[in-house]
Amino acid sequence: MNAPRAAWLFLAPALLVLGIFFLLPVIGALGLSLTDYDLYALADIHNLRFVALHNYLALLQRPLFWSALGHTVYFVAVGVPLSMLTSLGAALLLNSPLARCKPFFRTALFAPVVTTVVAVAVIWRYLFNTKYGIANFVLGQLGIHPIDWLGDPHWAMPTIILFAVWKNFGYNMIIFLAGLQAIPPELYEAARIDGASAWRQLRHITVPMLGPTLLMVGILTVSGYFQLFAEPYVMTEGGPLQSTTSVLYLMYDEGFKWWNLGSASAVAFLLFLIMFAVTAVMLKLARCGEPREQEPA
């Protein structure tokens, strides 16, 4: 057996799966987004119309699309920095030579990551219940008025962000921890001899050395947070007053609740374009900031 033929045979199963179940549907989605494929068309294909870019134009004129995008951007813009700061903070604590019982803390802090979103979202729904939830009970003990966490349109998204940070920070914490452990200890040694404070060490050694990791984690976290869906599905059903309806939630509703597959595909593609643009801008900004830095593929 010659090498190229063997290579293709090794590749074939994975490429077939990705081709049939991903590439082909993505192309299909582009086509679908140019039609008004809906339940009527599902029942009888003669009811299908080609509508060119009408779905996209209609979406751009729909307040719900813009508010869903706004909620998603809100979730990303607040959730990602908060999540990464928490991860970084936890990683720094764990990496400190003064910390004890490290394996235990590492496991405990990572535990929420492996849990099922649906299951823990259900837990949070009760913890943050306005009347019987522990969150408001604790606030009450501190003399703070109860907050309608999931029922108030202004509080629902912050509550979901809090939940997402709790659920996800452990993953990036591990990645950061790996990055921190790769920093040569001599650098800190030298800084300490120079009398640099802990804060200065963090700013001038830790953060620059973590640069590439921060960028990679940032991009992955942003694209993950853009795909907000299960949290509002379980905790608020997109409400109250659609204040937690994300772009993906809109796509799900449009596509799999009302079966307007054409318009839902347009939503999916718009989300893709937005994510693509944001990732590109992040990469660009990172390159501007550190011209020497080269991202390995």
């Binding site: 008004d36 809906d38 339940l39 009527y40 599902l42 029942a43 009888d44 009811n47 119309r49 729904r125 219940n129 306005t130 009347k131 019987y132 309608d148 999931l150 029922g151 349109p153 608020t236 059903e237 409400g239 109250p240 007053l241 659609q242 799999f256 609740k257 009302w258 079966w259």
Partner: protein
């Protein structure tokens, strides 16, 4: 193997009704699937879209036009013609009519469901009211007397994410909800705005908390504790209240027909029908089950188990139902019911309607703005229907 979908509490009691049927029909095995009520509409559409419909299902009668438009249902007239059990004359006429689309019968009513008032008779009495309200004005006075937001007491619970309550009020108006043969929304009519204003005022006057049913948690026990004096809901809650409230509180609640704008009001001609899917391979067996579930004595047992009201007059004449004081209001209301618009898009329009109503409740929109927005969205949702109607009207002409 006959797959049968049920939604909500009906599924749990079906397990007690089915053994008798299976004994009489040893060749039929029923696979019962219970799905949550809130997911019912979506599950049905998904099953249709995925080509995985069951043999038969319980189907809310407001969704029949939709399933018919998708050509998903089996016409049932010929089955009824040969049936000795299902007698159309015995059914409440307005309920039977919701199962007939363009002259063809697609479902057999299983139970009727109209929304009306559950109320705490003891609380009303304490506030000086001897009888439940019959007009909106009386109702408003009672709501005002029974509400004390500072003490977390409200006249009524109206979950802001359920459209049935507002729709019940809107159907009492002379104006139809859609106009031009279901081509456009008619939410800016004077009648609808009056209903919307009454609904929204109830929140603005703090006679109902602006919460969804997700936050409402356990409405039964809160009703029992007197957090709400009124609860606008359907007949299955008779069973829930009986099961969930302690015996000592059973004498303190009752039911009443819905108050109307000026006199006793009209309710929604709601309910669930039993339908057979066109794709089913077991239609005869499915029909046998429909006949079994349509027998008056089975319907009476069904009522005893879950509190669902039978659609046949003869079923009301025996068993626990005849003497049940809590069912009487429903019997009365059932003579005054009106159906929802028979367009396939209705469920989606009703959802859009409720979202705008909730925004008005939150103070984001005025009544006029909310009504205008409802019309805008309804017109958008109905765009394809208009095209199809015009298309269908043009097609035969082209053929000629």
């Amino acid at each position: 193997m006959l797959t049968f979908w049920t939604f909500g509490p009906e599924g749990e009691v079906m397990q007690q009704l089915l053994p008798e049927f299976e004994r009489a029909h040893p060749d039929i095995h029923i696979k019962l699937q219970q799905l949550p009520l809130s997911a019912a509409h979506q599950k049905l559409l998904t099953a249709f879209a995925g080509g995985s419909t069951p043999d038969m299902t319980q189907l809310g009668n407001t969704w029949i036009p939709e399933m018919v438009a998708l050509q998903a249902l089996e016409p049932l007239q010929s089955y009824v013609d040969h049936s000795r059990v299902v007698q159309p004359d015995d059914y409440f006429a307005s309920i039977w009519a919701t199962n007939v689309i363009d002259g063809t019968l697609y479902g057999v009513p299983w139970y009727v469901d109209t929304r009306l008032l559950f109320y705490r008779s003891d609380l009303l009495k304490k506030a000086g009211f001897d009888a439940p309200p019959t007009t909106w004005a009386q109702w408003r006075r009672m709501l005002a007397a029974l509400s004390d937001p500072a003490q977390h007491r409200y006249g009524i619970l109206l979950p802001t994410n359920e459209y049935q309550q507002l729709m019940s009020l809107a159907l009492q108006q002379p104006d139809p909800l859609l106009r031009d043969g279901g081509r456009y929304g008619n939410f800016e009519s004077a009648g609808f705005k009056r209903a919307l204003r009454f609904y929204v005022d109830t929140f603005r006057l703090h006679q109902a908390p602006a919460i969804t049913n997700v936050e409402a948690g356990n409405p039964w026990s809160e009703f029992g504790r007197g957090v709400y004096a009124f609860y606008l809901s359907g007949p299955w809650n008779i069973g829930e209240f009986r099961a969930r409230l302690p015996a000592s509180e059973q004498a303190d609640w009752s039911t009443a027909p819905l108050p109307g704008p000026d006199s006793a009001g009209i309710g929604v001609a709601g309910g669930s029908s039993l339908v057979i899917f066109r794709a089913s391979k077991h239609k005869a067996a499915a029909w046998a089950l429909i006949e079994y579930l349509s027998q008056p004595k089975v319907q009476q047992r069904f009522y005893g188990l879950v509190g669902d009201m039978p659609p046949r007059r003869s079923s009301w004449e025996g068993g626990a139902l005849r003497d049940d004081p809590k069912a009487r209001a429903f019997r009365e209301q059932l003579e005054h019911v009106r159906p929802t618009p028979a367009v396939p898009e209705w469920e989606r329009i009703a959802n859009a309607m409720q979202l705008q109503a909730a925004r008005a409740v939150a103070g984001e929109l005025t009544i006029d703005q909310a009504a205008a927005e409802m019309d805008r969205q309804a017109d958008h949702i109905l765009e394809k229907r208009r095209w199809m109607l015009d298309h269908a009207a043009r097609a035969p002409q082209a053929a000629r």
